[in-house]
């Protein structure tokens, strides 16, 4: 990371995700929170919880006492509701607070958001940040990942998040609308598929969507299984073990046809002279990149069209925020002055 250009300037990168939101700052702080925001439902709840607003796991834990919002469901601020816009506002404030700015420090904030949110909620997000920082930028998540990795030319980023899978082709400039695609068959979709498959196969067991999401985060895989996957779920109040290997595979592979089709379609629309370079440089980011065997699986499936190289990044949780931080830090002073 390049050194700060001003001593009293704190550079902050934020990855505002559907499932998790992450912050990295030039003072070295790195934090994340699950993207839940909750307000106490009434004065009793407020007195019991002792807070005006709760975030992340704490909000989830006390969800029965809260008006809970997961504001970026499906990759956009849900239905443009005031509550979800307010939740984004609170969440950004919380993340900036986690960055640990000193009172005398000025802040420059870059925020990465799902590509769809960038299209439809850009101003709402910018306004939410503007209360905290005078210098700010809003970019798409896959772009901030690409910037952080230095993959700015002839590369494709696939950001598999909870609400959307965002695709972005980089060709040495800021990606245009036609360089980007979004699919709604992402992490939440896998959860729903897994929940459905498990409920159908084991109707006697009590599964919840949150339980299923935890199973996925621990055991997700595509392709041939390396081991049998066994989980425990309550049956009539007693925890019972189930082998869910096949269901896990089916659920995790369910978005793959759409992802492969989009990859091929985007590459086919790229300049023919550079298609080969893009095929060799496909980077998979986001929580979905942690699905075991994903890079091998995608390479095998696309082989029949044209061989492609897929690389899953090492630190998917912080890649977006680190990229946004890099962007804020690199932004020339003459540009920053006007932002």
């Amino acid at each position: 990371m390049s050194p700060s250009k001003k001593d009293n300037m704190l550079y902050v990168g934020i990855d505002l995700g559907t499932s998790r939101s992450v912050v990295s700052a030039s003072n070295g702080s790195r934090n994340w929170v699950e993207s839940y925001v909750g307000w106490p439902k009434d004065f009793v709840a407020k007195k019991m919880l002792g807070k005006r607003v709760l975030f992340g796991g704490e909000a989830l834990e006390h969800r029965l006492s809260l008006d809970l919002s997961r504001p970026l469901q499906n990759g956009v601020i849900k239905e443009g509701t005031e509550r979800d816009e307010a939740a984004v506002h609170e969440l950004i404030g919380h993340l900036i607070g986690m960055a640990g700015a000193q009172p005398e420090e000025e802040m420059c904030v870059a925020v990465g958001v799902p590509a769809e949110a960038l299209k439809v909620n850009k101003i709402a997000i910018r306004n939410a940040v503007s209360e905290h920082a005078r210098k700010l930028m809003v970019v798409s998540e896959p772009f901030s990942v690409a910037y952080g990795l230095g993959a700015l030319d002839n590369a494709m980023i696939i950001d598999i998040g909870a609400g959307t899978v965002d695709f972005c082709i980089m060709h040495g400039t800021v990606p245009l609308d036609e360089d980007q695609r979004s699919l709604l068959v992402a992490g939440d979709y896998i959860d729903e598929q897994l929940f459905r498959l498990l409920s159908e196969k084991h109707p006697e067991a009590d599964f919840s969507l949150n339980m299923v999401r935890r199973f996925k985060e621990k055991h997700a895989f595509v392709g041939e299984p390396k081991r049998r996957i066994k989980i425990e779920a309550p049956v009539d109040g007693k925890f019972t073990q189930f082998d869910v290997t096949e269901e896990m595979r089916k659920a995790c592979e369910s978005p793959m046809p759409a992802i492969v089709e989009t990859v091929i379609d985007l590459i086919a629309g790229f300049d023919p002279e550079f298609q080969e370079q893009v095929r060799k440089n496909i980077i998979v980011a986001g929580g979905g990149s942690q699905i075991s065997g994903l890079d091998t699986y995608l390479a095998a499936v696309t082989k029949e069209f044209e061989p492609c190289n897929f690389t899953c990044i090492n630190d998917p949780l912080y890649a977006g925020a680190d990229g946004a931080l890099q962007l804020a830090t690199d932004m020339p002073e003459e540009f920053l002055e006007k932002l």
């Binding site: 990759g75 816009e85 700015l152």
Partner: protein
């Protein structure tokens, strides 16, 4: 994997320019929720905003701005213009239903200031935005404001149940999108006036076209709005367009093909057609339907075009749709989007986008109702003038 400094500089400049383009009007200490996204229809103004608007109108009135509503003719749209400097001829989005030139104006009224609406210059491209602003800012019940006679609006979400309609590449189905938009439109219309707004189907079930028509009649519908999503064969490529139909002969082969597709499972028998075909000469209904189609279509297209650069305008035009023929009141069938276009299908998957479409349809319907009322008022005033002269 490191980018060279020139590429980096180009990209940074791009980010800078991208972010400079975002309006900054809401900067400062205000809460984010008081500053809606630019492409969201503003929900409402706070007290200060309302006072500001009222004050603005008062200032406009005091300054004596002489804005007028010019009534063009019995089927032409109403254009609002300044008396001294008429605006250029109104551009129209529809290739079929076209505005008459301002030269044909027969009557002018100083209604704008009196009605409290201020200087709204109406063009096909701008009216959607102006109406958005007007509806949101005034918060006035349209029915009270315009003394509307329309009481019952029937919204008809296409397909349903075992008939999914068109299906997109990602599996999104026309029947689900149409139902969702219809529900949102119902809620919006119910919120702006005292209309009774009904849906021909409230859930995912099959309803024959004949049943839809019967439902409209039984409930004494004053307007009938049928909502569909278009689809084109793969060989046509990734096209995306909107089009709006009112009953009449087809204007091109594609309209005929589409009508055949939408007319499937009508449950009508040949005998029924003798009666309903006789109604084709119902010119009043046709004229009103044409007005309604043009009003909805121009607003839908001009607003959606801002979101989808590739959107094409297939116009407001006639088509032989059975469901439109059977209904006796002004009725239109709107293909609000094109589900076979992948990018459009993704957009349609988001509640926000479907809500926007419902908002644009609402804007078009309310604009039609307003014109209708103004026409009635002017007709009434003309009759009064003639009576006075005769006296």
């Amino acid at each position: 994997m490191k980018a060279d400094s020139t590429t980096k500089r180009v990209v940074l400049r791009g980010v800078y320019e991208d972010n400079l383009g975002i309006p900054r009007s809401c900067r400062g200490k205000g809460r984010a929720r008081s500053c809606p996204a630019a492409d969201d229809r503003p929900k409402r103004f706070g007290k200060v905003g309302k006072i500001g608007i009222i004050g603005l109108f008062a200032v406009v009135a005091l300054l004596g701005f002489n804005f007028r509503i010019v009534y063009l003719d019995s089927v032409g749209p109403v254009a609002m213009q300044m008396s001294e400097q008429p605006p250029p001829p109104t551009p129209v989005a529809s290739p079929v239903v076209q505005a008459r030139p301002a030269d044909g104006a027969t009557e002018a009224m100083d209604l704008l200031v009196g009605s409290g609406f201020g200087p709204i210059i109406e063009t096909a491209a701008e009216t959607g935005r102006e109406y958005d602003a007007m509806l949101s800012h005034l918060g006035t019940p349209m029915a009270d404001l315009f003394d509307l006679k329309v009481q019952t609006i029937v919204i008809d979400p296409g397909h349903g149940g075992s008939d999914p309609g068109a299906t997109g590449h990602q599996g999104l189905q026309e029947k689900d999108v149409a139902l969702d938009i219809a529900r949102r439109l119902r809620d919006k219309l119910a919120a702006v006036g005292t209309y009774r707004v009904l849906l021909t189907r409230e859930d995912d079930r099959k309803v024959y076209l004949k049943e839809r028509v019967a439902f409209a009649k039984e409930n004494h519908a004053d307007l009938f709005i049928s909502i569909h999503i278009n689809s084109v064969p793969a060989e046509a490529g990734p096209v995306n367009y909107v089009e709006t139909f009112y009953f009449g002969p087809h204007t091109d082969q594609r309209s005929l093909d589409l009508a055949e597709k939408e007319n499937r499972d009508s449950d009508y028998v040949m005998g029924d057609f003798r009666e309903i075909i006789a109604r084709i000469g119902d010119t009043l209904k046709t004229e009103e339907s044409a007005q309604l189609a043009a009003s909805i279509h121009s607003r839908l297209y001009s607003n959606l075009k801002r979101r989808s650069g590739d959107l094409m305008d297939a116009g407001a035009k006639t088509g032989p749709f059975v469901v439109l023929l059977g209904v006796e009141v002004p009725s239109v069938l709107i293909e609000v989007s094109c589900i076979s276009n992948k990018a459009e299908e993704t957009r349609l998957s988001t509640p926000h986008y479907r809500d926007s479409i419902a908002g644009f349809l609402e804007t078009g319907i309310v604009a039609y109702l307003k014109r209708r009322t103004i026409r009635t008022k002017i007709d009434g005033d003309n009759r009064e003038n003639v009576a006075q002269q005769e006296r």
